[in-house]
Symmetry: C2
Subunit: 285 residues, 2 copies
């Protein structure tokens, strides 16, 4: 099978980047878009037909991408299960998967379809909105897929082929493992950057020389701190247990580092850290 | 006054970047270099005469830059005070200043000179050695100067003029304020990156999907974790009190975030963090 009528519900940074990448890879598909605040006509999104409601997007679609914030995805899942055609595959782009996949299991009950596969493109930007979209955002990026065996293989394969054509690299994973891992590689770095940047903001308020002395490296390191709370509120709430577990380990490690600043026993953690970035992450270069 | 005979002791990333920037700005100066492992002849460093010892570099110099690790700078300070000509200005590039400036106060006793001004170029790279040097490394970067009023104004002004010609932006600050600030903007981010990256390395060891799912953003965020412990050991030891104070605040904030993941009360820290990066640091763009 091959998808010919797509619906993107939530046409922001991720929805529009995906839309543009799919439009480029598959010029023939129809892409309907719904967004409470649609992008202006001069902003490319891949969408060729804007509709006035999620319901109007679901109608006749064979692939539905829920690219809204996590809380909105949770609201949309049962509506999509009720209104999408049986042939449709419904997917999402939410940053946590356990809660969304649980909601989908409860909503997508008919074996004949429609079917649901949870998705999470591991790419992003601290910028928001369709205006920041980039058809190359997904290029080479891992794209987590949590299908839990419920979708027919043909639908899953067609979706994976589409993602590959759009430049992404599908990685199958169960929702619990996904949430545990992204808590560590994405949600924990986010809260650490926010904790550090907010602390520095207070320091700079007291002594402006702090900002004056800061080099450009700090801007890169704190890039994710520019990401807005409106995006993160739902993510952190929906994955709070795993994020909390990550914070606990990190806090313990920071206390140990604090106790060992004056001896030479930090070498192992420095080496591990260097190895993680330079060897394990080297695919990202 | 104007400097015509420079000595750079420690010709690694910082020494060679400074050497090349000065060579470009002031083609006429003589630059002697000493390094226990001198760069190969085909690596540009700005040095036009290599010498076999720090002592040989001090001889006849009017500007001496100690660009070695902090521990080596502490050893070199009394030697430079004893051997440099009275007309010389001695400076360093160490990442912490209280200990070095204290050592310099004890060593540079003659009012007639030589004189000492502590320095710290707020630029760097996770790479090391003269091979990674870049004459533009200092371009636009803040360059902290701690002179504590001991050097004659003419020497200080000549040094500031040279730094400006080399592209840097001199910022006068006392050593205690410098160390408190860099603990927050540089040393704390370093230990946080090491704590996080070493934790992720352990996670990836247990589950390789962790590294597989990590996007390119994590590489940027953890860039400083590639910096070697051999550089950081001295820095963390010499500024342990301030680093410890910073870790304590950060740990407290992470615990508060952990307790508040499920309500909406993190908005203020997200906003502060965003403001710090986008408004206070905007000069770095």
């Amino acid at each position: 099978m091959e998808f010919s009528r797509l619906a993107i519900v939530g046409v922001g940074l991720i929805g529009a980047s995906l839309g543009r990448a799919i439009r480029r890879a598959r010029p023939g598909v129809e892409i309907r878009g719904y967004d409470p605040r649609p992008a202006p006509a001069n902003v490319p999104t891949g969408v060729d037909r804007w509709v006035a409601s999620p319901e109007a997007a679901f109608d006749e679609a064979d692939l539905v991408v829920l690219a809204a914030p996590v809380g909105a995805i949770l609201d949309l899942v049962p509506v999509a299960a009720r209104l999408c055609p049986a042939r449709a595959l419904v997917t999402d782009t939410g940053s946590s998967k356990v809660e969304i996949c649980r909601a989908a299991r409860a909503a997508f009950l008919a074996p004949a379809g429609p079917h649901f596969i949870g998705g999470h493109p591991m790419a992003g930007s601290e910028r928001r909105g369709a205006g920041a979209a980039d058809p190359d955002l997904l290029a080479g990026a891992p794209y987590a897929l949590c299908d839990e065996g419920s979708a027919p293989p043909a639908k899953r394969q067609a979706f994976e082929a589409l993602l590959r054509d759009a430049g992404a690299r599908p990685v199958g994973i169960d929702a619990a493992a996904h949430d545990r891992i992204v808590a560590r590689i994405s949600h924990l770095p986010q809260v650490v950057a926010v904790a550090l940047a907010s602390f520095l903001d207070e320091g700079a308020e007291r002594d402006p020389r702090l900002a004056e002395l800061a080099g450009g490296g700090l801007r890169d390191l704190l890039r994710v701190a520019s990401s807005p709370y409106s995006v993160w509120k739902d993510i952190l709430r929906s994955n709070a247990g795993e994020v909390r577990a990550g914070i606990e380990v990190l806090v313990g490690r920071l206390k140990e580092i604090s106790a060992r600043l004056e001896d030479e026993s930090l070498a192992e953690w420095f080496e591990r850290g260097k190895r993680f970035r330079e060897q394990r992450l080297k695919g990202g270069e």
